[in-house]
Symmetry: C2
Amino acid sequence: MDTITVNLGDRSYPIFIGSGLLDGSDILKESTPAEQLLLVTNETISPLYLERVEAAFADRKPRSLILPDGEQYKTLEGFGRIIDELIEARFHRDACILALGGGVIGDLAGFAAASYQRGIDFVQLPTTLLAQVDSSVGGKTAVNHPQAKNMIGAFHQPIAVLADTNTLATLPPRELAAGLAEVIKYGLIQDLDFFCWLEEQLPALLGQDPEALRYAIRRCCEIKAEIVAQDEHEHGRRALLNFGHTFGHAIEALGGYGKWLHGEAVAIGMQMAADTSAALGLIDSADAERIGVLLEQAGLPTSASELAGDNILNRMRLDKKAGSHGMRVILLDRLGSAAVRPAPDDQVLRSAIGRHVTAGQ
Amino acid sequence: MDTITVNLGDRSYPIFIGSGLLDGSDILKESTPAEQLLLVTNETISPLYLERVEAAFADRKPRSLILPDGEQYKTLEGFGRIIDELIEARFHRDACILALGGGVIGDLAGFAAASYQRGIDFVQLPTTLLAQVDSSVGGKTAVNHPQAKNMIGAFHQPIAVLADTNTLATLPPRELAAGLAEVIKYGLIQDLDFFCWLEEQLPALLGQDPEALRYAIRRCCEIKAEIVAQDEHEHGRRALLNFGHTFGHAIEALGGYGKWLHGEAVAIGMQMAADTSAALGLIDSADAERIGVLLEQAGLPTSASELAGDNILNRMRLDKKAGSHGMRVILLDRLGSAAVRPAPDDQVLRSAIGRHVTAGQ
């Protein structure tokens, strides 16, 4: 088992990565001292893992709430259902929520924990690759607005993250690939060696090799923990973690949440950001192509053929990364290094987007 | 004009107290550097003060949102309306909300500011006595759940508070009295001299004497700023500010928000807490009576005649001040000093409550 610490003073917390952590491990039992526990999960995950987590906490009689599965349920209404459950249970300020599932469950349960009685504890039990490498770490919680993703939320750190790598065995291949998009992101923005390792080890990762997966998850969590410790509230460097996301959020929203998985939209967005970087001469076009090859080998899309480029650009202006001083995008300086930059001319963006869409809509 | 600072490190902010602050003062204009401004107010306040605040920021073309007036609108739905407005305006992370109104507007707009894009700036422009002495200071924001008050919210400090004492001239007498309940609270929990001053100066305060009002507001803000600086997130001493509120919140909820003003419910609650303190021998019953006299002279209720005592007690168990280790209440040690204590036996509470209700419902 690997342990990584997110260093945030009195809000520091551990990330545990290993196999079987949900199977009644001491680490699970000791992850929270709270007497009042609410397990939040979804309809897909509950038949697989809910019972064993409930069993681990049986002496504390945890309550469970099972939500529908999907990004389209990451709404203020879904948030309200968790709050209703906490109220119904008459839970106090020292209660704890356990978020058992992927990024949607973590974001919803985390925002409910941030807001119930102005903040209670929560523990992340991520069951998807994407959640284990990215969304469960760092304290970003949110729900979507019909107009744009993650517009309503809070920075609220969990008190522990337990990534049980065994859960990846039940992950559909499409979801595994979506997680690999975020894994590749870490290589691109921060660690060329890791990017090269991914090029080599992709077959092992796609084949669910436990050692390869464990190493990839650890490396991603190390990078994320370091960045979050430096810039918890995203006033600076943390924005680099949004590489590909400004494009990707627009693609997700235009598809209607549910069409693209978050990681798939991010893959398309990273390709668009790489092409923009190449168009500006920041990286070689050969590097942009190399990125596309890895994404496609991972089983990820690199184009959104049915979305019109202008729609994507309009949506991007709504994204949180935009500021009063104009839209900003995260571009690559080279493979393994990214920077936040003012958005280039619309023609440059339209061209980079246009290479990966057809303007039919 | 008085200026008080709430010392919270890099989140410190000033409270300005004076007459005419909303009339295009430099202090108002300079309260926020944001280019994108949303003024949130209600139907009662907007005809009185909105135009002058809009005029002060005319060069930045502020947007305004006018909500219905009343505690019954302090809901997740009202919160959603502010978020919708921010999205509609395509406001960025460096936008600022100005909350122009009483405690309901401040709580709603503050929670929206806390949650929009995981947190933007806001400025409090309190127009009621209650908001000027209490709710606009200290960063507690929240909306109500149908089952209990302030259950969904955040700690999110404003960047400035401007209390224009001229706004109190248009305050209905019932609202002025409701504010005096919180004013009296500060004397009771922390400052016997101030309590005695209030006994003397009550006629001047009820007569809207500007100097008396300014002094009372300043003293309350000083006490609150000191307590909040010591214990921002209410792990300890800040809980004393909830004196009377555990009873009061139950009374408000049972009345259906809208029947009792918050300050009125707090007045009844403070009387019940004082009687509980007397029943336990912590204070003399003469002191409890002295409190009742002041509350009644201020035009405040000290009994909720149509609510059954057992209902109040059941509701209190839902209150945020309850913890896994049992309900706690804030009681007086003497006039001018309060402490958090485990709730006494139900009979003691029932008796103290019962003196101020009839069990008809």
